[in-house]
Symmetry: C2
Subunit: 454 residues, 2 copies
């Protein structure tokens, strides 16, 4: 949505410190657009522009700025300005910002905030990364059970500017235990004098504050909700998770799975935002594990040296055979891991998967094996001893079939096993499957060669 025509205008206004021009420029934009335009400026200029806008608008745009720019701007603001900004920010964003401030600063800021704000930020900060508590926001709307629909709507009208959403509101008792949920739609449809208690849904879907954020995201998606109430272990309402936060969670979790599958550990920041050292460590760890695991192939080939000294042509096909197995294993691992991630499969389905993938591995393996057999038949005649060509080709064909079958089963079953043992199935990355199959493949290949050829 970046508009290349607007950016030069903006730069000009900023360079000339044209306050009227800037106020005008920003009044017509969605905060997300405004933030995107500001993302290209220096922190000092951003602070100048934001300073011209009314408090609520300033905070709305700040909420959308990139994390690194938020931090840089906060760094240049004095404590009073930052505290004022924080008062208007959305509750989840500001808790994040406070967590990223340098050591002493949060204490200074906290002294300038009202007690309620302070406690709210401290509570949101207290939840562990990856939990529902860490993605929820506390600016939800509450309506009393004994109010009429008309009175509840009137109440929502007043609190609307400070709430993340007023389309869903919640009913709690004196101890904040979650008692029910009512949508603005149902409040509007209901006769004006009807009581909230008679409209609200009592057994509403909710999440626990300690639930994995992924589980909560799936729940919201499953029920097509705008927001999900979040309760603590005593069933007290402590926050809501909204549809837009859920989209972020879903995208983050998909990124994590994709990275794991490619043999990269989860990154805290994006590719460009991550430092070279972070990326290096993250990648070096997995590469080293896989490299050391690869020593097994070296060991196996050392053992089989006698065989390929007798028939050197066996060497020609080593990469072809082990890659075929690795590729087939990557395919089945990918299919099973994604199905597990989407909840389409559980480890209890292992037998069904096993049956299907045995057949799949056999049919793919026999197909590729036949192609491999044909390929081996055209090996130049000066590279194979007289009369050995057919036996060599048969060896290649059978080895491809066997290694493809083995690779397919390893790829399909290992993720189920990992999940069953409580690990993340995505740890069975494509490179990891390939490495496992490499060793197996070499052993199987030479076993077949010894039986047929040697």
């Amino acid at each position: 949505m970046r508009n290349p025509l607007l950016a030069p205008d903006l730069r000009e206004f900023v360079a000339e410190r044209d306050e009227a021009g800037l106020r005008d420029f920003f009044s017509g934009h969605h905060p997300a657009d405004a933030a995107e335009l500001l993302d290209d400026l220096e922190a000092g200029d951003v602070m100048f522009v934001l300073g011209l806008l009314p408090g609520r608008e300033r905070a709305a745009i700040f909420d959308y700025l990139e994390t690194t720019l938020q931090d840089a701007v906060a760094d240049q603001m004095d404590d009073h300005d930052l505290a004022a900004l924080i008062t208007y920010m959305s509750h989840d964003e500001r808790a994040g910002l406070m967590s990223r401030l340098p050591v002493e600063r949060p204490d200074h800021i906290f002294q300038l905030l009202a007690r309620a704000e302070r406690e709210d930020i401290r509570r949101l900060q207290s939840y562990e990364d990856g939990t529902t508590g860490a993605v929820m926001t506390s600016d939800y709307a509450i309506v009393p059970a004994d109010e009429t629909a008309a009175a509840a709507i009137e109440r929502l009208r007043h609190v609307a500017p400070d709430r993340e959403t007023i389309y869903y509101c919640y009913v709690v008792d004196d101890d904040r235990h979650l008692k029910g949920f009512v949508s603005l739609k149902n409040l509007i449809i209901a006769p004006a004098h009807r009581r909230v208690a008679d409209i609200m849904q009592r057994d509403c879907v909710y999440a626990n504050v300690d639930d994995d954020r992924e589980k909560t995201a799936e729940k919201l998606a499953e029920y097509d909700l705008l927001a999900l109430p979040v309760v603590d272990h005593e069933h007290r309402l402590v926050g809501i998770v909204t549809h837009d936060d859920v989209i972020d969670v879903i995208v983050d979790e998909a990124t994590e799975d994709v990275h794991r599958m490619g043999g990269v550990g989860p990154l805290e920041y994006s590719y460009l935002e991550s430092s070279f050292a972070q990326l290096w460590l993250n990648r070096a760890l997995w590469l080293s594990i896989l490299f050391v695991a690869g020593f097994l192939t070296t060991w196996a080939l050392t053992e089989f040296e006698g065989d390929f000294e007798k028939v050197p042509a066996l060497v020609f096909f080593i990469p072809l055979i082990i890659s075929a197995g690795g590729n087939c294993g990557s395919q089945s691992a990918t299919l099973i891991m994604r199905a597990l991630a989407l909840g389409e499969l559980t480890p209890r389905d292992w037998f069904r998967v096993f049956n299907r993938e045995v057949l799949m591995g056999l049919s793919l393996g026999l197909g590729l094996g036949f192609v491999g057999f044909l390929r081996a038949l055209i090996t130049p005649s000066d590279r194979v001893a007289e009369g050995q060509l057919f036996k060599l080709s048969l060896t290649i064909g059978l080895a491809v079939a066997a290694v493809v079958l083995a690779g397919n089963l390893v790829g399909a079953l290992m993720p189920l096993l990992l999940k069953r043992l409580g690990f993340d199935p995505a740890l069975m990355s494509n490179p990891f499957v390939a490495s496992l199959v490499d060793v197996t493949g070499i052993v199987v290949y030479f076993a077949i060669a010894q039986a047929i050829l040697l």
Copy 2:
């Protein structure tokens, strides 16, 4: 959310055809829960249960049933019942259902529907898969520009049951050109007598009916919206895309990327729902391409036969070296593809990526190369000719470093190139990167061996 305690009750009610029990059972459940319970039953039983419920409730539950069960139930319903059901279904779901009916049936059903419904279904069916038109729904809410806020709310109240959402509504002129957007929140906050035209946002964010659904999903997510209006090429409002559909799109697109990365073409259905033949074809295609590409490794090794006949120990390290390059390439390809998919990178960033990944490849390669050098030093002395061990080890170390660097660059730059050429960068799957690096790796390895050892 499946409740194992409820399922046996349900089966009992169904077995005994206990109509009162069943009506009672379903009255308290969210349609998504009800559908999940029904997903375990036979189509005939599902039809019996749905037949007991009022039309709107029946359609709401039907909307949530699994696609295959929807089709099976529709198959058993007579045309009149199905037409009645379709009248109440959400507009996007019913267009999908109609598209999946067997050949002659849609014509019969169309005759039983009102003209407006018929045209609506035909229009929604007309958009190509993957476009915004194919995921939008036509049951959006419209308010006239000259109406007061109070009158608009009253209007929404009446249409609420038949609209996907009333939280966002749209203003169109007589030719249905999109003129503006107003949220229920703003209608409620506004003074009762204020006109919609004075409250509405005129330049609202929208999508075109032909836009890629992924782009539309990103737009909705970027602006944290509940729904996005969709216009045709004459800027006439034709539908909306809602937050829940966007979540489905995001999950689908992530699945497609994950599958592509693992060397599996996009699947129409989930792993368990896809037929064996569909999966086989899908997988066999990519495996065959990769297998035939692998012939290059066979050809290269045939060329280098003289080298490894002189020093057979060179063979021991072939899989180790090419895997290290493939793994490193999978990592960089994964990082770059995901960053491209998330819009964090564009092909124009290639120089930045190149610089970074040259350094990364060098540092990872030198690290692994050193480990490889040490590993080669402990090759059993009876397998290496007198005095060759150090030179062999040096060859291995340098080859690992060079192949890791090459693999890293191939993995990082090929997705950028593909994207630049207009292809899906995820086509550069992990198996494909590994195959490319296999050949390169063998050639580089033996070139280094020839320079140092032979």
